[in-house]
């Protein structure tokens, strides 16, 4: 069950906006940082 929100980007959504790095394996690490922020944002309401 995936959720959609304007303020969070999955890697797939991100590379659609930034095709210049789509084949760069190491760039996928950006997703980890997006996720780190996501977790904190969730945490702050419980």
């Amino acid at each position: 069950m995936e959720f959609k929100t304007k303020d969070y980007y999955t890697w797939d959504e991100y590379v659609k906006l930034h095709p210049e790095i789509q084949e760069v394996e190491g760039a996928k690490k950006i997703q980890e940082y997006e996720d780190a922020v996501f977790s904190l944002m969730m945490r702050l309401f419980r």
Binding site: H18, A27, K29, I30
Partner: protein, 400 residues
């Protein structure tokens, strides 16, 4: 291990001596290749996994230890060879930077940009930091040009990515220093106020217009950022910094402006920054990019322990100037002046001869740290072999 500790101590002593104006045991050797060159060198040597391009490696910190280890194992240096003044692709990509972009071939580039309009000078001058954060950042970093909540998320993400990668580099460099017996180096970064305004805020071409059209605003802006420039390197508690803390400042605009412009626009605010940076006894390392010979009398007025890395110019003149006119109690050290192109076009003997010739001028009675005129941008043969021979020759022969 005991040998490593001795070597580390010997090297630390070389730098302690030279930065305090004593003649060191020998000419200290420093190497600062661009990270791009270090990566390519490792790729060519087969140190990285087959098929990995320079661009890919730049994105994969897990491969960096081997790369950095490789160059340190091959090339003699008295200080650790690291990732240089690295621009992390993950940082600039996360922020959607317009001002720092990685090329297809894996080189970090700085396209000319500007984010401050001339009519905004007053608002900028009133509180430069706040104006940068609130108004200018989203103009340079497109991912911040969004809703306040998303902007905060992007900023947090970028900060965490930057911090993690810098911690990784820090850990790696500690390992490298331990392995090769390099001395600890403490350093901060700063910028000349005029360069700071010119580089990212107004852009190279617009700053020239400003010097004619709104000179007073420009001067006020330079003055307004002095405290920020000092704070950037010394942090919130300069008294707690180690005594060997040195501020690195790459200088930019001097070679493009006249003596008159330099004296009026570049120098006064920078002098205050320099005075601030040395106020607690710490040193400054300047990288004097291109040719600044016409400004050197003013540049020689900086006080404290100041090292100047020269790209172009007249070493005879500079040595004489530093020897005869350095402010009392101050120590001015020369580094650079050795043309890195030598390594591309000459034999080993010629490279060594060029060093001899240069050292006769700049290294007499100390006051010189060997480094190239600028960071090597390629180690492709014959550069690597020449570099190896030259570095070892300096280590073994440039003894006082």
């Amino acid at each position: 291990m005991e040998d490593m500790n001795l070597l580390r101590e010997e090297r630390a002593q070389l730098f302690r001596d030279i930065y305090s104006g004593k003649k060191p045991k020998r000419v200290p050797v420093q190497q600062s290749p661009a990270f791009e060159a270090t990566i390519q060198y490792a790729i060519d040597a087969g140190v990285t996994p087959p098929g990995k391009t320079r661009r890919e490696v730049f994105w994969e910190p897990d491969l960096w230890f081997d790369i950095v280890d490789y160059i340190n194992s091959q090339i003699y240096s008295d200080t650790a060879i690291g990732v240089g003044a690295i621009r992390l692709p993950i940082l600039y990509q996360s922020l959607g930077a317009r001002c720092i972009i990685m090329s297809e071939s894996g080189v970090m580039q700085h396209p000319e940009v500007h984010c401050l309009e001339p009519e905004e000078y007053d608002a900028y001058i009133a509180d430069p930091m706040t104006y940068q954060i609130e108004v200018l950042l989203p103009r340079l970093y497109t991912e911040l040009d969004t809703t306040p909540g998303r902007r905060a998320m992007v900023m947090a993400k970028a900060m965490k990515a930057n911090a993690d990668h810098m911690a990784k580099i820090g850990g790696m460099m500690r390992q490298i220093s331990q392995k090769y017996g390099y001395p600890g180096m403490a350093s901060g970064r700063s910028t000349a106020p005029f360069d700071y305004i010119a580089d990212f805020l107004r852009g190279f071409s617009r700053i020239n217009t400003d010097m004619r059209r709104c000179p007073d605003k420009l001067l006020e802006a330079c003055d307004a950022i002095i405290p920020m420039m000092i704070r950037e390197s010394l942090g919130s508690d300069p008294k707690k910094l180690p005594p060997n803390h040195r501020t690195f400042i790459p200088l930019h605009m001097g070679s493009f402006i006249s003596t008159k412009q330099f004296e009026r626009f570049w120098y006064p605010s920078m002098k205050k920054v320099m005075d601030g940076l040395v106020a607690y006894g710490h040193g400054v390392d300047l990288f004097v990019e291109d040719d600044w010979m016409r400004h050197m009398e003013a540049m020689n007025e900086f006080t404290g322990s100041i090292r100047y890395q020269f790209e172009k110019g007249d070493p005879v003149y500079v040595k004489k100037l530093f020897t005869e006119q350095t402010p009392p109690g101050s120590v001015h050290i020369i580094t650079g002046f050795y043309q890195s192109d030598m390594l591309r076009y000459n034999t080993k003997e010629e490279c060594i001869d060029a060093a001899k010739k240069l050292f006769d001028i700049v290294a007499a009675d100390g006051g010189y740290v060997f480094n190239f005129d600028k960071g090597l941008f390629s180690l492709a043969e014959p550069v690597a072999s020449n570099l190896k021979a030259l570095s070892e020759w300096i280590r073994d022969n440039a003894v006082y």
